[in-house]
């Protein structure tokens, strides 16, 4: 009978932990950004000798599956835009042609960030939390991609218990090989209840000595019509920007 109780407890405990972990993941998502928003980001690729290349982007997101970004600088990239609807991604280059499909593992900016980092959806929409570890001041969430189309098969996410905000995320392949690590820094109040890290740094064993940094500004709740997130609207994203 004791053995039966043990297995019953184990059977019931496992899903309970998973549910808690997924709820925690959803809370992390909401603390990182509202479900629908606009924001500005600066991406900085830093070479081992300290030389850097910067990009400034205006990004908009709606719900769980639509996100778009417009390059504001440098001049050589100004006007480019990227769009993601679920797992579909496109790149539009002004003057050149119609938007072309791109894949999540490519990078339109070079450096350590790839397209899925730039056009990121909520973690909870792409990953299942399969394990939760209590590590004192932090939780460690083990996440598994829901589908094969997600850029990283596994994530290990360290979450600050007090702020319910990630401090570090390791991105791994299916074979548990580390692709890159994201470090979340400089918690900042963006207003309207949005308190999140203002800086995300990343490095990768695949790019030894290189580092990429993403900085956030003017993160605001904003709703958009669905038509904004279409190929036809990609050349017109600039019209969404408002005076700062």
């Amino acid at each position: 009978m004791a053995i039966l109780y043990f297995f019953l407890a184990l059977f019931l405990a496992a899903p309970a932990a998973a549910i808690d972990a997924n709820q925690l993941l959803k809370q992390v998502d909401r603390n990182l950004a509202p479900a629908s928003y606009e924001m500005y980001r600066k991406l900085i690729n830093i070479e081992p000798n300290g030389r850097k290349k910067e990009f400034v982007l205006f990004s908009v997101k709606k719900g769980k599956d639509k996100v778009a970004a417009l390059f504001l600088s440098p001049a050589s990239d100004k006007g480019r835009s990227t769009l993601r609807v679920e797992d579909n991604m496109w790149l539009y280059i002004p003057n050149v042609a119609k938007p072309v499909r791109i894949t999540s593992l490519q990078s339109v900016v070079g450096g350590v960030f790839n397209n899925s980092d730039i056009l990121q959806l909520d973690y909870a929409d792409e990953y299942d939390a399969i394990k939760l570890e209590d590590q004192g001041k932090e939780y460690l969430l083990h996440l598994k991609a829901r589908t094969k189309t997600v850029a990283y098969d596994q994530l290990r996410m360290w979450v600050d218990k007090e702020k319910v905000s990630p401090t570090r995320i390791e991105c791994l392949t299916e074979a548990s090989m580390l692709i890159k690590t994201l470090y979340f820094k400089d918690i900042k109040d963006f207003g309207a209840g949005i308190v999140r890290p203002a800086v995300v740094e990343t490095d990768s064993p695949l790019y030894k000595g290189f580092k990429s940094v993403m900085m956030f500004a003017n993160v605001r709740v904003r709703d958009f019509p669905d038509e904004v997130f279409t190929l036809t609207f990609m050349p017109k994203l600039e019209s969404l920007r408002q005076g700062q």
Partner: protein, 436 residues
């Protein structure tokens, strides 16, 4: 002497400042809000220097057609300066946009210059899902990277540089977009009106006609689908279709087809006579884009041009040029060469004039951890006569907004083949472009 040393030091200092302007401590990050300030206007462009060296093939048909009455030479060089200006101004739902390209070139001991309005139009966006544009505009249709048979209202791409901006046509177009939940996520309709007169769009087709085109776009079950249509008296009626879909995180497939009614297929006989026959033809392509684990991107396309010149007709043309050249050498009579040059226009001098082509491009991003360096190799194969071009290139962005590209194009093929009869055996090109 002291002044000279001082000047040298100042020069060295300027040099160091120029090359290390972007070097800062890795921790020295700043996000100045002035960088994201919204302005009603924008202005930018680039300046470009592009010297080109051509290795000429003195036995080739197109060399003879161009240089038959000039001093014979093995190489030719040209130097090109380019300036692109583009800008926009927005007020409320209205905006104006322009793009101009100016070139100054030195070629065969002659200077030439040109300025082209690439685009210049007025745009009205009364609602997110509705906009209207009027003016000179590029309306790019189709999913092909190197070929776009279904781009019914735009000029053909330069296959040697398919990502370069095109010159538009004067037209009125609109976009009507609707989004949905469910398998059909997006529906967009783009009607186009394109007039042709003696002064407007005169290179599009027959003058004094109003032409109509339209495209219906669907994002259906994660697949891009387009259906196109063109009708009007300037060109014959044609129907188009394309698709594109990601079938993995690193694999995209696309295809495009155009059915052109009453197309005038051209035939050339052994006497250099051009005849045409009218038929409905199919132009189609299928392609993939694939990214490997070590960051090599492959773009591969097969293109079938149902209206292209047949191998026998191409051989007839090249034989006609040979005889015309022999006649010029023997009797100084260039009339047949002039006729051959006339014949080549619209046939074998056109871009990809024959039936079946294979396009291949492989580029590797930042190999050996060298940031901002992208080597690539491109090949275009004429599958009908087995001639081909091979183009290795190296692109480098040493500092922000400065793009440097070095490329060579090597043409190979037997006599009486497309690439074997081009005027060049090879071409070396440096392009230095600074954006502002």
């Amino acid at each position: 002497m002291i002044t000279q040393i001082f000047s040298l030091r100042r020069l060295l200092l300027s040099f160091l400042i120029f090359f290390y302007a972007g070097v800062l401590s890795a921790e020295d990050f700043a996000f100045d809000l002035s960088e994201i300030e919204k302005k009603p206007y924008s202005f930018g462009g680039f300046i470009e220097f592009r010297p080109v060296l051509f290795g000429l093939d003195r036995e080739a048909a197109f060399y003879r057609l161009r240089y038959f009455d000039q001093d014979q030479k093995n190489i030719r060089d040209e130097y090109n300066l380019g300036l692109r200006l583009e800008g926009s101004y927005e007020k409320g739902a209205a905006g104006v946009y322009f793009r101009t390209d100016s070139t100054l070139g030195y070629d065969d001991q002659d200077w030439n210059d040109d300025t082209v309005l690439g685009e210049g139009y007025l745009s009205l966006k009364p609602a997110t899902g509705f906009s209207v544009n009027a003016g000179k505009r590029v309306v790019p249709w189709g999913k092909g990277y190197a070929f776009n048979p279904a781009a019914f209202v735009s000029r053909p791409k330069d296959i040697d540089d398919p990502t370069e901006a095109l010159e538009g046509f004067y037209l009125i177009d609109a976009d009507i977009i609707k989004s949905y939940d469910g398998p059909l996520k997006t529906l967009a309709f783009t009607p186009v009106i394109l007039p042709v007169t003696d002064d407007l769009n005169d290179d599009f087709g027959e003058a004094d006609h109003l032409n109509f085109a339209a495209k219906l776009y669907l994002l259906f079950r994660d697949t891009d689908l387009d259906f196109m249509f063109f009708t009007g008296a300037s060109r014959t009626t044609r129907y188009g279709f394309d698709f594109s879909r990601n079938i993995g995180t690193n694999f995209e497939v696309h295809g495009e087809a155009a059915w052109i009614t009453d197309f005038e297929k051209q035939n050339i006989d052994s006497q250099g006579r051009l005849t045409t026959e009218t038929a409905d033809i199919l132009q189609a392509l299928f392609g993939i884009r694939y990214l490997t684990a070590n960051d090599i991107t492959y773009i591969v396309e097969y293109y079938h041009n149902g209206g292209g010149i047949e191998v026998d007709d191409a051989e007839n043309f090249y034989e006609f040029v040979d005889r015309a050249y022999d006649r010029f050498l023997a009797a100084g009579d260039s009339s047949q060469l002039a006729r051959a040059a006339q014949l080549s226009r619209g046939t074998l001098a056109a871009s990809r004039p024959m039936r079946d082509y294979f396009y291949f491009r492989a580029s590797i991003k930042e190999p050996f951890d060298i940031l901002y360096v992208t080597p690539a190799i491109t090949s275009i194969v004429n599958l009908n006569d087995q001639s081909l071009s091979l183009t290795p290139e190296l692109a480098y962005t040493p500092i922000t907004n400065l793009d440097i590209r070095l490329r060579g194009a090597f043409l190979t093929g037997a006599r009486q083949t497309e690439f074997g009869e081009k005027q060049n055996d090879y071409r070396l090109e440096l392009r230095v472009r600074y954006y502002f």
